[in-house]
Structures are given as structure tokens and as C-alpha cells.
């Protein structure tokens, strides 16, 4: 595995430098349009950061091939946010200082988006984000545009699928106590209330637990006939899944995206067979997602996931919006983005609402003996 990673890294290095080489050539001719990207190059999320860069660069290449933006080639300026809050504040402020950057890609981690939000408001330029905390688009910041469905939708989709499609009414909710897990758990709980099936168990756990026996036993004791989860880390998910099966719990399970992520499937193996997950990116969900999947595989020799899909869409949408607006003025770009209807993206069909949320539903996928299979898409109109 070491060797394969090295080759992979070498290939990526070429992939990374190529646009710069091309970019600098373009610069020699005339100005380029610059898009800034705050991404974890170091820190715990470094690997995901790499995939995000891959997605963004893939989109960049496609946009440039199709003629660029406003007649010029697009260039990506990357800053490391170190996967920390102060890190992203510093990274963003470094990018913000470059006045020729017209738009930015922010973080997939909501707490990082919160941290940089004041600076985004001050700067007044559009920032594309992947974080799913619903508050991010409801705090009066008009410059944040979200490229993944927020957690209020994931909760509703899980609830909808479990209650209406699977027909299960007695829910046990297991969620991490971090930002993501707590918000997700809350969203799921309230969605279930609305559907008339309030949860019989709402169990939080702290990340990096080594043992989930108490949680599994609580699920067992609660008499639930379906399990809804929000897990942040794959280790925790793997240990929980195994212990769940060991202690004889076989009820259907509909979880947040981590449940069907590549690393979870690898770690938990058979323990996750048959589980359902909501996934913002599912390769077979639409033509656009299939096309993206193929292009990504051709370029990087591996399957994509949501880490690379949303930056791909962000670059694509931002470029399209600037072209539509005919200018790089922030207000005009914002108008153009909000005007987009039924814009096909790898993550789904974008219809931006006034808050800046582009997606309003999730795909439901199933782990069929190790392969992730697309089931259906559930969308909401609000």
C-alpha cells in the first residue's frame, strides 16, 4: 500500500503542478480569473483535502477547456487551513488580501465555516461551502453558498425513507456529540416528530470511544425497530457496527453519509452489509454524477466521493454564474447564482434559494454486500 500511495502521490504531484504551469503560461499572455480555495493540506483531514483539490481541479480543467470565464482561463489559488479554526481564518485572510480573487471555496467542516464567517462578511465576496450545519445559511451572511444539502435535509430524508419506504416507526437515534452529530441528531429527531414517530432513544456518544457496548445495549433495550445514526469518525462507526451485530441487533439502519463512506465499508466489513445511508454524492443518481464519476476515475484512477464532488460543483457553478453575470462584481455573481434553476451537478440538481442553499434533498443508497448501490433520491421543496 505504501508503494501505491507513493505512485498515487507522484501522479497527483504532476496533476497539481500542471495547472500552475498552464496557468503561468496563460498569465504570460493576459490576466487569469482567480478562485481561492481554503483546504486542509495538513492536519487530520489532510487526505480528504487532497480529494477536494482533485475535484476542484477536475472542474477547473473542464471550465478552461470550454473557454474559461469571461474569455480568460481560471486559476486556483490554494491555502492550507490545517483543519483548524484559527488555521482557516489565517488561510482565508491570506487569500482575501489578494484583491484579484473573485470567489472562494471554503470548508466542508461547519465549525471552520463559522470561524471564517465574520471575515467573509467583511470581505463581501462569494464563498462556496460544503459544511452542513443548517445555521450557516440562516445567520444573515449573504455570501455563503452551500453545495451540499444541509443537515436539516439529511435528517428529514433519513426519517422519510425509514418511515415511509421501510415502514419502521420506532426509532433509535445514535449520534456523536460533536457539532455534526449533535446537529444531525437534532434534525433527525425533529423530522421524526413531524412524521408522528418520535424517537424512543436519543443516544449521544463521545468521539474516539473505544467501546460501544453501553450504546448497543441501550439500542437493544429501547425496543427500537430501526436505527438512525450520525457518526463522524469511521473507527467509531466500525467498532459500533461490529458490536451491534455481535450483540444480536439486526434492525434496519439508515445513517448519515459516513455509514456508506469507502473507509467505513472497509473497516466494518460485513457488519455494515445491508445498511442504508444518505449520501449527497451517489454515482448512479443522475447523468451528471455519472459523468463526474467517469471523469474523476479517468483522471485519478480511483472512485470519487462527496469530498471531491462538491468542490467540482462549486467551481462549475461559480464559473457558470460569472459567465452568466458577465462580470466579477460580487453582487452580480450572487444574483446569478441565486437565479440558477435545475443546474445539473455531480451532487444533484442545484436550485439555489434565498439563503444560499443549493440542494434540498439526499440520495439514499444501500450497502449491498460491500458495494454501494443507489436506491432513490428524496427531495424537499422548501
Amino acid at each position: 500500500m505504501k508503494l501505491t500511495r507513493r505512485e498515487f502521490a507522484a501522479g497527483l504531484a504532476v496533476g497539481i503542478t500542471a495547472p500552475y504551469v498552464i496557468g503561468s503560461a496563460a498569465r504570460a499572455q493576459g490576466a487569469t480569473i482567480k478562485i481561492g480555495m481554503c483546504v486542509p493540506v495538513t492536519g487530520p483531514a489532510a487526505e480528504q483535502g487532497l480529494w477536494a483539490q482533485n475535484g476542484a481541479k477536475l472542474a477547473l480543467a473542464a471550465v478552461n477547456k470550454a473557454g474559461g470565464v469571461l474569455g480568460k482561463q481560471v486559476e486556483l489559488v490554494i491555502e492550507d487551513d490545517q483543519t483548524t479554526n484559527p488555521g482557516i481564518v489565517l488561510a482565508f485572510s491570506k487569500l482575501a488580501a489578494q484583491s484579484d480573487i473573485v470567489g472562494f471555496l471554503g470548508s466542508i467542516r461547519s465549525t471552520q465555516v463559522h470561524a471564517m464567517a465574520p471575515d467573509v462578511l467583511k470581505l463581501g465576496k462569494p464563498v462556496m461551502i460544503g459544511g452542513t450545519d443548517p445555521n450557516l445559511t440562516h445567520m444573515g451572511n449573504q455570501w455563503l453558498f452551500r453545495f451540499r444539502p444541509n443537515d436539516s435535509y439529511s435528517g428529514r430524508v433519513i426519517a422519510d425513507y425509514g418511515v415511509k419506504t421501510l415502514g419502521k416507526k420506532k426509532w433509535a437515534i445514535v449520534h456523536s456529540t460533536d457539532a455534526f452529530g449533535t446537529a444531525g441528531g437534532k434534525a433527525l429527531a425533529s423530522a421524526l416528530e413531524t412524521l408522528g414517530s418520535p424517537a424512543v432513544l436519543d443516544q449521544g456518544y463521545a468521539n474516539q470511544s473505544q467501546d460501544f457496548t453501553p450504546v448497543v445495549l441501550a439500542v437493544k433495550q429501547s425496543g427500537a425497530d430501526v436505527l438512525g445514526t450520525y457518526f463522524t469518525f469511521e473507527n467509531d462507526l466500525g467498532i459500533f457496527a461490529r458490536q451491534l451485530r455481535q450483540l444480536g441487533v439486526t434492525i434496519p439502519w439508515v445513517g448519515s453519509p459516513s455509514v456508506v463512506a469507502v473507509s467505513s465499508t472497509k473497516l466494518a466489513g460485513p457488519a455494515l452489509f445491508g445498511t442504508f445511508g444518505v449520501a449527497d454524492y451517489a454515482e448512479d443518481s443522475s447523468d451528471a454524477s455519472k459523468a463526474f464519476g467517469k471523469a474523476y476515475r479517468d483522471a485519478y484512477k480511483t472512485a470519487p466521493d462527496n469530498q471531491s464532488a462538491w468542490p467540482y460543483d462549486a467551481i462549475t457553478v461559480l464559473s457558470a454564474a460569472i459567465n452568466k453575470a458577465g462580470s466579477t462584481e460580487p453582487a452580480k455573481i450572487r444574483e446569478a447564482i441565486l437565479a440558477l434553476k435545475k443546474f445539473p451537478g455531480a451532487e444533484g440538481e442545484y436550485n439555489f434559494d434565498q439563503n444560499g442553499d443549493g440542494l434540498h434533498g439526499y440520495n439514499v443508497v444501500k450497502n449491498e454486500k460491500g458495494t454501494i448501490v443507489y436506491d432513490k433520491h428524496i427531495d424537499f421543496n422548501d
Binding site: 493540506v41 489532510a46 488580501a97 463559522h114 460533536d178 457539532a179
Partner: protein
């Protein structure tokens, strides 16, 4: 010693006479220039954020330089205090719309209390145990920050944190922070020279000796922790106002380690070192952003550097630099001349200065001291002798409070000191020296003796630093080392170190002086000098209780001898008679 107030620990350095302020004018001018620069020079958002981070972190690291550098207590919870200050300001301004100043003060108070509680845990713990308590405290605070969502908003963090109206713009706020940094830096810088600072350094260098010399060790440690916590809380409050958003992951154990590393890198004992370390560790990662292309590589190098710094530059960069400067500057300056030492031991009680009845100390089944009675008459020299293992040093340790007596009573000048901790016995008039010399190694001879002179209840110093120095000089001159007062302990020979220890005890003007094997390790000339010194001390009316093996010294110097064997008193009386006593002879030489 007054407790430090809310957000201005500068009060510990309060009694400054005019000339001192003028002397330090350059510092204030420099600080004013920095503040002006911060307020006026336009920098882009990136540099501004870095400066904000550096400024606030530096204040937190100053806190570490107090508790760790000055007092020698390990504190791995500084990030928790930082977080407490940040959250109080965050929640107060964002949720309850309370004024920023009140919140900042509140944050400092909460942090202060938390720090005092943590300091209280040092009562019975030190070293690794203390490290574990601080780590546990840190972890619990982080857990509460994450899980007590009703209070802290949990992992979402707190946004829209307010700022004082006076400093709303980024520029003004930065200038405000720099001003705070300068003020706090000044206070911490001069803390070392205050009474509390000296007490802290004594505790760091030699805790046992510090207690015996009159320092309330436990209280000093609590102050150290409280000060460190206040600075952490203040820094956190400033940080919250600066960045307008805080979340639990910024205040974890990993951050505490970062502060510790910043402190070590620059030099743990001085605020200058803290500032250097903070600056470097915030700027270097920015300069080395390119190194971060391989995940983990930067942090691996970071970990390696910690090891290397500890190994090769234990005093940090500033320690290294200042040591070099000191070497270049050459010998220490000559101290002022002093008048003759006055020893005025109390004459409150009657004839008997020290009355020990039925003293016992058992270690489990071992009876180290078993029902010993001693009466030490005022004035003159009383010796306590006995073969090895007879319990002499144990008796001395019980007398000075380092061990708790199993039973028995000790009366010093009529005051019952049996239950008192060491520093209170010193306050009552007891002084002692140690068999294995316990001087404060990082300080000069003068500073060592000054700490001795500072003992509570010393009526011979009128107050103020000048009187303290004068008294210390008198004591040093008395033992013949006045001319070398400003040299570090390490430059003195063993025999001279012993004399300094005696001077330290004398400077406190004790009623009874306990000498634990003062002649050990001295050559015959030095022993002669010691004998002369003892005579001079006794001539001023101070009572001496001496333990020693050197029979010549004992027989010549002491008028009265008590003999112990196997923890029991086997003889007591006038010197010559006791030394000829058959029990004593057989105890030392064995029976046929």
C-alpha cells in the same frame, strides 16, 4: 501578601518608588511606540490575524512563565484557562449582551478561581502527579465545553462575540491587545524581584528549604497557579473579542502542549523568552507553509524540535542568549558595604528556649525517635549527638516540621509548635541549616540570604527592599562572605555554601538556630573558622542546637550535650561529663 486582583496582576508589583519608574521609562516608551504602531500602521487581514494570535497567545504563555518558569510547577491546563476566559467573554457578550469589560473581568475571575483550586491540589502532590491532575482538569474542561450544550453551545461554538465600543475597529483592538501585552509583560518581568517572586523561585529551587526558611510553600503555589490562570483567562478573553468566534477544539490538551512548547523554546523563566517563543512558533509555521505538503511531516519535525530543545537548550533561546550576555559582561558587580550584624533573639520565655517532651516518631514499625526529652537553655550551644542511625537527624526534622511527630510536644519559647508547618515554626523563631546543603541554586548568595531575612515576623527589617538588602549584607559579612554577595551559588566552595546557609538562617533573626552537621565535609581550617563563627553567634545571645559527629568541635563548642542511641535518650548533661559517661562510650565504641 495581597491576592492578585481581577485582570491586572500588576498589583503584586505595587510598591514602586519613583526612581524605579523612571529607571524603567525606556520600557514604557518602547511599549508606547509599539502600541502606536499597532494603531496606525495598516496591515492586511492576514498579518493582522497573525499579530492578534501572537499577542493573545503570548499573554497566556506569560502565565506559564510564572507558574512553570518562576515557581517550577508544571501546568498542562493553560489552554483550559484560556478557554474559560474566551467562553465567558463569548457567552456573556453574545448571549446575554453584557458589556465586554464586565465579561473580561468575569472571565479572569472564573479563571483565577479555577487556577486557585488547581493550585490547591498541590498540597499533597508534585511532579508527575501534578502533571496528571492538570491534564485531567484540562480534559474535563474540554469535555464540558463540548457536552454542556445548554451553557457553551457545545461543539457549534459561540459566534458574534462582542468587543468594547472603544476598540471596535480591528486596528484599535489590536492596539489595545498590544497595550495589555506590554502591561502584563512588565508585571511578570518584575514579579521575580518581588517578595512573592522570590518565594516562588525558592519553591522552585528547593521546596523543602523554602518552607524551612519561612516561605508558605502551599500558598505560594496557589498564587502561582492563580496568576497563571488569570493570565490565561485574560488572554482568552482578548482572543475571543479579536476573532469573534470560539469553539471547543481550540482549547484542548494539544493547545496546552503548544503553549508549553512556546514557553520552553523561548526560555521558560522569563517573559522575554515567552514572547520570543510565541512569536517564533506562530511565525515559523506560516513561513514554512510549504513544508506542510506531506501530512504529519511538519508536526513530526515539531516533536523532534521539542526533544532537541530540551536536550541542548534547556533554558530556551532567551536563556541561551542571556547566559552568553552575562558571560560577556564579566564578573558580578561589587555589592555595597554593610554594618555589623545585629542578632536580637527574642527573650520572651524563661530560661528554657526549647522544651521537648516525650517526642516520638515512628515509621510504621520502626521507632526512629522514641520518647525523647530535651531542654535547651537560652544562650550557648547545645549539642545532640549519637552514633549513626540514632535518630538525630530525624529529631531535627521533626523539630523543624518536615516530619510530623507521632507523639510528644515541642515548645519554643513557650509557644507550642508541635502541629505547625515549617514556615510557621520559622515565623515563631526557629532557624535551621541542612546536612546536605539546600541553597537556592539559581540565585545569588545575596538573594538566598534575602529570602531568609524575609521571614514573617522578622522585627529587624523595617520594610522595603533597601532594608532587606542591608540586613542580608550584614548577615553575609558576618560569615565573611560579604564581598561575594552577588555571585551565583554554584561559584562557591562547599564550605562557603554552608556559611551562606548559616547566613540565611541568621538573617531571619531566629530565637533558636538548628545546625544539622555543619562540620560535615569541612577541612580542619574550615572547622576552626566554623567554631569561631559559632562563638560569635553565641556571643550575641542566640541559642544554638547542633548535631555533629566531630567530637572535637562538639566538645569545644557545646556546653550541654544530649546523647541519643536507637531513638532513645541515653545521656544528657554538661559536655565533659556526658562524654565520659560509660553508656555513651559503649554506644560509640561498643562493649567488650
Amino acid at each position: 501578601m495581597s491576592a492578585p486582583s481581577d485582570n491586572m496582576p500588576a498589583t503584586v508589583a505595587v510598591s514602586r518608588e519613583k526612581p524605579m519608574l523612571l529607571r524603567h521609562l525606556p520600557y514604557f516608551i518602547g511599549a508606547a511606540i509599539l502600541v502606536a504602531l499597532a494603531a496606525t500602521v495598516q496591515v492586511d487581514g492576514y498579518v493582522h490575524n497573525i499579530l492578534m494570535q501572537a499577542t493573545t497567545f503570548a499573554i497566556a504563555v506569560f502565565g506559564l512563565s510564572v507558574v512553570l518558569g518562576l515557581c517550577g510547577q508544571i501546568n498542562l491546563a493553560q489552554a483550559a484557562f484560556f478557554g474559560i476566559g474566551a467562553y465567558v467573554v463569548g457567552i456573556g457578550t453574545s448571549d446575554y449582551h453584557i458589556s465586554y469589560w464586565l465579561c473580561l473581568a468575569g472571565g479572569c475571575i472564573v479563571a483565577l478561581l479555577a487556577g486557585a483550586v488547581l493550585g490547591a491540589s498541590t498540597l499533597r502532590l508534585g511532579g508527575h502527579y501534578l502533571a496528571m491532575v492538570t491534564i485531567s482538569f484540562q480534559q474535563i474542561v474540554t469535555l464540558v465545553m463540548i457536552n454542556a450544550i445548554w451553557l457553551t453551545h457545545g461543539p457549534d461554538g459561540v459566534s458574534n462575540i462582542g468587543r468594547p465600543d472603544l476598540f471596535l475597529s480591528a486596528q484599535a483592538y489590536l492596539a489595545f491587545c498590544v497595550a495589555m501585552l506590554a502591561l502584563v509583560g512588565y508585571a511578570v518581568w518584575h514579579l521575580a524581584d518581588t517578595r512573592l517572586g522570590r518565594a516562588m523561585r525558592a519553591v522552585r529551587d528547593n521546596e523543602l528549604a523554602a518552607g524551612v526558611v519561612g516561605v508558605d510553600v502551599f500558598r505560594t503555589k496557589i498564587y502561582a497557579f492563580a496568576l497563571s490562570a488569570v493570565l490565561g483567562g485574560l488572554a482568552g478573553g482578548l482572543f475571543a473579542g479579536g476573532f469573534a468566534y470560539v469553539s471547543p477544539d481550540q482549547f484542548s490538551f494539544a493547545e496546552s502542549v503548544v503553549y508549553l512548547t512556546m514557553s520552553l523554546l523561548g526560555g521558560v523563566s522569563s517573559p522575554i523568552g515567552s514572547a520570543i517563543g510565541t512569536g517564533l512558533l506562530i511565525l515559523i509555521p506560516e513561513w514554512l507553509r510549504f513544508l506542510k505538503s506531506v501530512p504529519g511531516l511538519y508536526l513530526a519535525i515539531y516533536g523532534l524540535s521539542v526533544i532537541l530543545i530540551i536536550r541542548y537548550m534547556p533554558d530556551g533561546i532567551w536563556g541561551f542568549v542571556s547566559a552568553a550576555i552575562d558571560r560577556l559582561r564579566g564578573k558580578a558587580k561589587a555589592p555595597p558595604a554593610a554594618s555589623a550584624l545585629k542578632l536580637m533573639p527574642a527573650t520572651v520565655g524563661g530560661d528554657i528556649v526549647l522544651e521537648v517532651t516525650g517526642l516520638s516518631k515512628y515509621f510504621g514499625g520502626l521507632k526512629a525517635v522514641d520518647g525523647v526529652d530535651i531542654q535547651v537553655r537560652r544562650g550557648g550551644v547545645h549539642a545532640l549527638i549519637g552514633p549513626n542511625g540514632s535518630g538525630k537527624t530525624t529529631t531535627l526534622n521533626v523539630l523543624s516540621g518536615l516530619y510530623k511527630a507521632t507523639s510528644g510536644k515541642i515548645l519554643l519559647d513557650g509557644t507550642d509548635i508541635t502541629e505547625l508547618p515549617p514556615h510557621l515554626r520559622t515565623a515563631a523563631g526557629l532557624g535551621r541549616t541542612f546536612q546536605n546543603i539546600r541553597l537556592f541554586r539559581s540565585m545569588t548568595a545575596l538573594e538566598n540570604v534575602e529570602i531568609g531575612a524575609e521571614r514573617p515576623g522578622n522585627t529587624l527589617i523595617s520594610g522595603g527592599d533597601a532594608a532587606l538588602t542591608e540586613r542580608a549584607m550584614e548577615a553575609l559579612t558576618f560569615v565573611g562572605l560579604g564581598s561575594r554577595a552577588n555571585e551565583l551559588i554554584s561559584s562557591f566552595s562547599y564550605g562557603h555554601q554552608r556559611l551562606i546557609e548559616i547566613a540565611r538562617a541568621l538573617a531571619a533573626n531566629p530565637t533558636l538556630l538548628l545546625l544539622d552537621e555543619p562540620a560535615a565535609g569541612l577541612n580542619s581550617t574550615e572547622k576552626q573558622e566554623l567554631h569561631e563563627l559559632l562563638k560569635r553567634i553565641a556571643a550575641q545571645g542566640l541559642t544554638i542546637l547542633i548535631i555533629d559527629h566531630d567530637m572535637t568541635l562538639v566538645s569545644e563548642a557545646a556546653q550541654h550535650i544530649t546523647v541519643l542511641n536507637f531513638g532513645r535518650r541515653i545521656a544528657d548533661g554538661e559536655s565533659m561529663a556526658v562524654l565520659r559517661h560509660p553508656d555513651v562510650v559503649s554506644a560509640y565504641l561498643g562493649t567488650e
